[in-house]
């Protein structure tokens, strides 16, 4: 017995730019959601067959298994350099890095700053969950003051262990950066805004306008020791005040693109 599906309208399906596999991400982690937003943007822009993904070291180390595009895996923090090598030699391709906060904001600060300074035509999806998830929840540069992690067991004391790093603000002052925003995925409205920003970021690259970076506040229920719902609430209550959402750099040439993605939403 089969159901005739022809009378139904498809309203939700796996994007072509995602592979049909189970992911290794923890239950409730928003990496999977962010992957989907990236894949939807790639599909909608019709760039899947010319996109190359650069995975980081961290929770997203297997990102290349989930994106249905050519992909590679960079040494810890070096994704922007590796992506530079790919993009400079294949300028017709769309190259993006997908990096966590330990990868991009600690060991890879030099690489991301200089990629931005050079105005590399790359898209950077920067996922900030305030800790090193893969290694089991250690303090990251983005860990909040007072936050307990396995390597700040008494809470992060800024006088001893530094202050949370605000990446979007930092990158936005570099002249080569064309589009730098911070978004969050803690509720539907913000998920939609994140999607529009990711799409804009890819369009910035397609237009050759310079570096585009979307920082996404993301949950880590496992290492935060919270339920998925609590974790989403914690993003809003604890992270957003330290990492304010917003557009930190929208170059003049990018403004029309943001209008297009906003209208499409």
């Amino acid at each position: 017995m089969s159901t005739d599906l022809s009378q139904y309208e498809v309203v939700y399906r796996r994007p072509e730019a995602l592979t049909e596999v189970y992911t290794h991400y923890c239950p409730g982690c928003t990496h999977g959601l962010i992957h989907r937003l990236v894949a939807e943007a790639i599909d909608e822009l019709g760039i899947r067959e010319r996109t190359i993904a650069v995975a980081p070291v961290g929770c997203a180390v297997f990102a290349y298994n989930y994106f249905n595009v050519d992909g590679c895996e960079a040494p810890h923090g070096r994704a922007p350099a590796m992506a530079t090598g790919l993009k400079r030699t294949q300028p017709d391709k769309i190259v993006f890095t997908y990096q966590g906060d330990g990868d991009l904001a600690a060991i890879g600060t030099n690489e991301i700053i200089h990629a931005a300074l050079r105005g590399e035509n790359l898209t950077v999806i920067f996922v900030n969950n305030a800790n090193y998830g893969m290694t089991g929840g250690q303090m990251a540069p983005t860990t909040l003051a007072g936050m307990v992690t396995t390597s700040s067991p008494y809470g992060r004391d800024p006088h001893l262990a530094g202050y949370p790093m605000r990446v979007a603000e930092l990158i936005s002052v570099l002249p080569g950066a064309a589009y730098v925003v911070r978004r969050s995925v803690h509720d539907v409205a913000n998920v939609n805004k994140t999607k529009a920003a990711i799409k804009t970021a890819f369009m910035v690259q397609m237009e050759g306008l310079g570096l585009s970076l979307v920082e996404v506040l993301s949950s880590c229920p496992t290492n935060w020791h919270m339920t998925p719902v609590e974790a989403l609430r914690w993003i809003e209550d604890a992270m957003v005040p330290v990492f304010p959402l917003g557009d930190y750099k929208v170059a003049e040439a990018v403004v029309p693109l943001t209008k297009r993605t906003r209208a499409a939403r």
Binding site: T19, R48, E49, R50, T51, I52, V54, A55, V61, F62, Y64, N65, F67, N68, V69, D70, G71, C72, E73, A74, P75, R78, A81, M82, A83, T84, G85, L86, K87, R88, T89, Q90, K93, N110, E111, I113, H114
Partner: protein, 379 residues
């Protein structure tokens, strides 16, 4: 084609251009900087990619990215910069993508100095970063040889999907010599790109390039694949040079610049009546161990000369396997040994060997002075 006078670093850059290099990434460091500067000037003229990175870490990872696209690419650096690059080299070796790297060695450890040295021998032949991997490592002893090595390096890197290193030193990089440049080859076409290259998954399944393999069995298989390729290199690419070994009962072993200086030392020692020959490894990985093992059976003693504290010495001892006594003479910190001091060491070696009536014939030639104790390292 007529010979022209070329500076080593610039000659290697020109050789790479003629070999069809499409992208160069580097970072300034003496004594290799002229190679980077030449690329900065010449690559844009040919519509190719030159990029000065923010560090050697940046440079090696840009190289890694370009290599993943199946692009002919190279970098160059000198010892402290190579130390930074070893992280990336390990990943490149683990991912099995081809790159060419020129290392113009300088004195170390630490910041050391900018004089010629051979202190990177271990680093380049034994420890390409973490894990098990080796590069195919060539040690030029003249600018012409360096040019030919760079020119052929890309084909070899692509054939074996490996790192090819040209291991020169400040002397090779800085000196000027007459060179016959090889002919210009066209860059690769899209059809010539390897079938693993990341070029966008157009009309085919996506390709993945990674050094990550979380299962023990999977990673062992990857390692076995790498080792099988390295075994092919060992079989096909071992190169060395011999001079006057036919009748030799003493053997000098030296690579690169020192190998060349030893040719002069050999002439001095021969004039002094010593039947000495020279064995110069041209590939230092793979090391030409088999031929050296054979020669060790023919000679009474071996003198290894290096501009380090005895690095290739270990490979020589392993190849000789006790068949002849092995002595070492090394200069450190960028001091280049001179032919006469090496000849003195040959005489000293001969004098130290068990007496069988062997004495040099001193037919009016300038005698070899007694050994002078110096800051040099002796083993």
């Amino acid at each position: 084609m007529a010979k022209e006078l070329w500076k080593g670093n610039e000659a290697m850059a020109e050789a790479a251009l003629r070999a069809g290099v499409e992208a160069y990434f580097g970072y300034p460091i003496t004594p290799q900087t002229e190679l980077l500067e030449y690329m900065a000037r010449e690559m844009p003229k040919r519509g190719r990619v030159f990029l000065q990175a923010e560090s050697e870490l940046g440079a090696i990872n840009m190289l890694y990215g370009a290599a993943c696209g199946g692009v002919r690419c190279m970098s160059s650096s000198s010892s402290p910069g190579i130390s930074l690059m070893t992280e990336g080299l390990s990943y490149i070796a683990g991912t099995e993508v081809p790159v060419v790297l020129v290392d113009i060695m300088r004195g170390g450890p630490g910041l050391g100095n900018i004089q010629p040295s051979q202190g990177d021998y271990f680093q380049m032949t034994k420890s390409l970063g973490h894990g098990d991997a080796n590069a195919l490592v060539f040690a030029p002893s003249s600018v012409q040889e360096a040019v030919d090595m760079v020119y052929n390096a890309f084909d070899l890197a692509e054939k074996y999907r490996c790192v090819v290193v040209i291991l020169g030193d400040g002397m090779i990089g800085q000196m000027m010599e007459p060179v016959e440049m090889p002919p210009e080859r066209p860059p690769l076409t899209e059809e010539q790109r390897p079938d693993w290259a990341l070029r966008g998954a157009k009309g085919r399944p996506p390709r993945i390039l990674t050094s990550l393999n979380l299962t023990a069995e999977g990673l062992e298989r990857a390692n076995q694949r790498i080792q099988a390729r390295l075994a092919e290199i060992r079989k096909n690419e071992v190169r060395w040079e011999e001079e006057m070994t036919a009748d030799a009962d003493l053997l000098l072993v030296a690579f690169g610049t020192v190998g060349r200086i030893c040719k002069s030392a050999l002439r001095l020692a021969r004039q002094a009546g010593y039947r000495v020959g020279l064995f110069r490894p041209i590939t230092v990985w793979p090391f030409p161990e088999q031929r050296l093992h054979e020669l060790a059976g023919q000679v009474r003693g071996i003198l290894v000369v290096e501009m380090n504290a005895g690095q290739m010495l270990l490979d020589v001892k392993a190849a000789v396997a006790g068949r002849a006594p092995v002595r070492f003479y090394g200069r450190l910190g960028g001091v280049v040994p001179l032919p006469d001091e090496i000849a003195e060491q040959v005489a000293s070696l001969a004098a130290s060997l068990p007496g069988d009536g062997y004495r040099p014939a001193r037919n009016g030639h300038q005698g070899v002075a007694p050994v002078v104790a110096s800051a040099a390292v002796k083993a």
